[in-house]
Amino acid sequence: MVNNAYLGLIRQSQRAFEMDYQVQLSFENVNSPELGGYDVDHVKVAEGLGCKAVRVFEPDQIAPALEKAKALMQEYRVPVVVEIILERVTNISMGGADIATVVEFEELAERGGDAPTAIALLD
């Protein structure tokens, strides 16, 4: 589960209306200040519902968290939630009108290391 504390797709679509209105999910969670405003404490909720959960804040933690999730699934046979805390605002490549004018918001891959798991490698 990727958490940017936003209705991200609707936030992105509201750019066309020059607003960022009623799409924020951020709030000061008095029970979980360590979340830094990142919405609901999904780890506590998942655990309360009988599941296991892992939260990740940094990119290098993602791989170990996914491995830990697999081990927890095997051990407990319950759903395991991996919550990945994302940057609040990222615009994902998207076209508004036609397939010839999809907008790329990030820099593109120029060498293999930029997209190391692409299906056909650069370089």
Partner: protein, 459 residues
């Protein structure tokens, strides 16, 4: 003749139509059906925490394997209205699920009885049949017809609404000699397939657009065989993703405004001919129809006659089940391969070259994490047999842009309806159908929260 309650007859029919699993929750007006299910003993039941969750579980269960039909059950009134979103999703994506609801006794239907809503009228536009069964003796026929309709033509859901007294009425019914009705699937003729191949052979840069109908027809192997035989590159739609493995040299990328690859859109813009099979030209796939269609010849094959021409007029349309059409495409192409079909090797290599150059960056080290990096790590962590489930939002869009799928039914995605909350219960349905699989549900925070209580069902 054996005598039993109409509810018991319905359960006997479910069993004989191959149902082994149901999702739902009991309530006052559906208790006779639950009693019959408990007594009959052949159908496992998963207790959902929200009735809408049960309907999405049923859909995930259907999508997990060819021939599966998910069943969801609830009481009268709000249980039925809660499942309407599930019927919309299943109907829009051509997925058969059977929704069974309890209802107030027949004599009280007109009296604004407690939790007695006209669910059949509400469900009508979202189902192939929605019926409140008023005569107990009609119950066997209603269920028999339900399975016939769900499996015939364009697959889709059915709702059967059973008043309390109808469920409890005893009827004559012989389960031993029950048999399912024949399933109707239209099939292309040789002349039609020959004409489509003539149009293809007249082109220089053809593409096949492979839709979810190919997966519904369990015909992914035939698609790959036809593509290899003709050398024509394939564009899977979001519903058809996995029909050809991502790493196949003829997989040319996905096309669209959102869930698309840069190389997929570039291939489409370069093409001069498109053969669509089991697809519906969804607007997020085509974008502006002028740009999508200009300078291209289109052939459209679909199982539902009224889908031909719905979005735009193709140059040629064929009404056929995708499997039946692909069997003939393979057969006729093989006859012609001797020299009648052009060599598309150069064009296929151009598509392949775009695939290895037109990429988006995923390797970011930023903190907080950029989403692109998440999918890069998922590609490393999960193998080719992983079964992804997703619904809507930036997570679904980015997932489609960056993840990899290698087998049909390993990208189980809500296409047309996109209801927030679908992912988690649908994933539970997939995991129920295929308990040994690694099922990875991909959600954003809001999708996750919509049906978060269903986590307890999996716990």
């Amino acid at each position: 003749m054996p005598r039993m309650t109409a509810a018991r007859a319905a359960v006997e029919i479910l069993h004989r139509e191959g149902i082994t699993q149901a999702f739902g929750l009991p309530g006052a007006a559906i208790n006779p059906f639950y009693r019959a299910m408990r007594d009959q003993g052949e159908i496992s039941h998963t207790l959902a925490r929200h009735v809408e969750g049960a309907s999405h579980m049923a859909e995930g269960y259907t999508r997990a394997a060819p021939g599966n039909i998910g069943v969801c059950i609830g009481t009268s009134g709000p249980a039925g209205t809660d499942m309407i979103t599930g019927l919309y999703s299943a109907s829009a994506d051509s997925v058969p699920i059977l929704c069974i609801t309890g209802q107030a006794p027949v004599a009280r239907l007109h009296k604004e009885d407690f939790q007695a809503v006209d669910i059949a009228s509400i469900a009508k536009p979202l189902t192939k049949m929605a019926m409140t069964v008023l005569e107990a003796a009609q119950v066997p026929g209603a269920f028999q017809q339900a399975f016939h309709l769900m499996r015939s033509g364009r697959p889709g859901p059915v709702l059967i609404d059973l008043p309390m007294d109808v469920q409890l009425t005893e009827i004559e019914f012989d389960p031993e000699t029950y048999q399912p009705l024949p399933v109707y699937k239209p099939a292309a003729s040789r002349a039609q397939i020959g004409k489509a191949l003539d149009l293809l052979a007249a082109s220089e840069r053809p593409l096949i657009v492979a839709g979810g109908g190919i997966i519904n027809a369990d015909a992914a192997d035939l698609l790959v065989e036809f593509a290899e035989l003709t050398g024509v590159p394939v564009i899977p739609t979001l519903m058809g993703w996995g029909a050809i493995p991502d790493n196949h040299p003829l997989m040319a990328g996905m096309v669209g405004l959102q869930t698309s690859h840069r190389y997929g859109n570039a291939a489409m813009l370069e093409s001069d001919f498109v053969l669509g099979i089991g697809n519906r030209w969804a607007n997020r796939h085509t974008g502006s129809l002028d740009v999508y269609t200009q300078g291209r010849t289109f052939v459209h094959v679909d199982i539902e006659p009224t889908q031909i021409g719905r979005v735009f007029a193709p140059d040629y349309g064929i009404v056929s089940d995708a499997r039946a059409a692909l069997e003939l495409f393979v057969e006729v192409a093989r006859e012609r391969a001797a020299g009648d079909l052009p060599d598309y090797g150069v064009w296929a290599k151009e598509c392949q070259a775009r695939k290895s150059t037109l990429q988006r960056r995923t390797h970011f080290d930023n903190v907080p994490i950029k989403p692109q990096r998440v999918y890069e790590e998922m590609n490393k962590a999960f193998d080719e047999h992983t079964r992804y489930v997703s619904t809507i939002g930036l997570s679904q869009i980015a997932g489609a842009q960056f993840l990899h799928v290698f087998h049909a039914r390993n990208w189980i995605n809500c296409g047309q309806a996109g209801p927030l909350g679908w992912t988690l219960p649908a994933a539970l349905g997939v995991a129920t159908a295929d308990p040994s699989a690694t099922v990875v549900a991909l959600s954003g925070g809001y999708d996750f929260q919509f049906m978060i209580e269903e986590l307890a069902v999996g716990a």
